[in-house]
Symmetry: C2
Subunit: 232 residues, 2 copies
């Protein structure tokens, strides 16, 4: 049994996994926390601390074995199992997800895509045919996919989420700009794009303010130098 | 000048903004931190603490004025200005973003969409015509959009990001599964979908383990009760 790991560490794990995957592709066998820290732009001590959570992956004077660490983090992330995913909503976003090759490589298999629009049904998305929403219940009950990606208008999100959970879905990947209220044992991962854009906007403003501040200081310093020069 | 606000608070601000927006639509004039906390599933003291960062929005015995708080948070998030966005990459994901009505409503105006694929050029996405990448430089230099959304294959991400930044783009909304190394004054907001899916997968495993643990305890408890009953 693993001890509880903080959310912050969990948030960073996929990033470690990605970097280790790249190193593995480059056939790097081992790496020190220092080298890894330079690549990832995190402090070496942060890396050591984070990875210590999973016990003894690093060795003094040797560093980390890339393959081993990659495999272990993969297991922690549950990537050693295949996850069956259904996409509900075959609009642009649903199709983008269906066609995103990266997921299959990580063990997330897009098994089916559903939509209510007649003109979409029967068309292909990510190698599977788009099915009618009227068949969703039977599909979920029979095929028992674990994850449902919700890429539908937000007005329908709550109802559809409640339905699929009652049919056995264990996790919702929620792209709708709304909060879902579901039983505690259902896992929800939100991708709130508007909120992401708002953080971007906040940071643009903060960067502008910083620049203006620095410019102000510079102008003040120059004015000071000039007046000092005049006084001489 | 505002004092520095922690990243955690900034991360929560868009969520406050969204909830306040909903209250506003429902013509709610004022709300107590307690009511807001019930709706948002955050503690009331967290809400008071967060909003205190921005000084005196709440009043004892009155609560928060929804309209005022909504407007103020909007300003803090830089939503009182229009942001010009270009989308680079008109695949499914680029088109999904171009067509996402929520952005325009928040002041993010999708001004142009670019792609290299001949068959896409001239088609419409989000109300604008898809342009050829060969015209990107001139467009950015002349029209001075602030934000570039990168929805291209990751192999091209670094080069394109460097280019647009050198032409004056101030912020990158990065959907490619790669880390961009850009000058410090460039704002980058990442949407790493594979990482999001990995967190989902981690949490599925964690939920499973918790369930098994509880089941184990229950079985042990039942066995104990039974053996106690037998002994009587």
């Amino acid at each position: 049994m693993q001890k509880a790991i903080s959310t912050a560490v969990i948030k960073r794990l996929p990033r470690y996994y990605r970097y280790l995957g790249e190193l593995r592709k480059q056939e790097v066998v081992r790496i020190s926390s220092k080298e890894l820290s330079e690549r990832m732009n995190v402090t070496a001590s942060q890396i050591r601390q984070d990875l210590n959570n999973f016990g003894g992956f690093g060795q003094q004077g040797y560093g980390y074995n890339v393959e081993h660490l990659y495999t272990e983090i993969g297991k922690i992330l549950g990537l050693d199992q295949e996850h069956k995913v259904v996409i509900i909503g075959a609009g642009n976003l649903g199709q983008a997800i269906a066609n995103y090759g990266d997921f299959a490589r990580r063990g997330f298999a897009i098994k089916a895509v559903f939509d209510i629009k007649q003109e979409l049904i029967g068309k292909e998305a990510g190698g599977v045919k788009i099915r009618s929403m009227s068949g969703l219940k039977e599909y979920v009950l029979k095929q028992k996919p674990e994850i449902a990606a919700l890429t539908i208008p937000k007005e329908h999100a709550a109802q559809v989420a409640n339905d699929v959970v009652s049919w056995g879905i264990k996790a919702i990947w929620n792209f709708t700009p709304t909060e879902l209220r579901l039983p505690k044992d259902v896992v929800v991962e939100n991708v709130h794009l508007t909120e992401s854009l708002m953080r971007l906007s906040y940071n643009i403003r903060a960067a502008q303010e910083k620049k203006e501040q620095e410019l102000g200081k510079q102008i003040a310093a120059e004015a000071c130098m000039e007046s000092a020069a005049t006084e001489e």
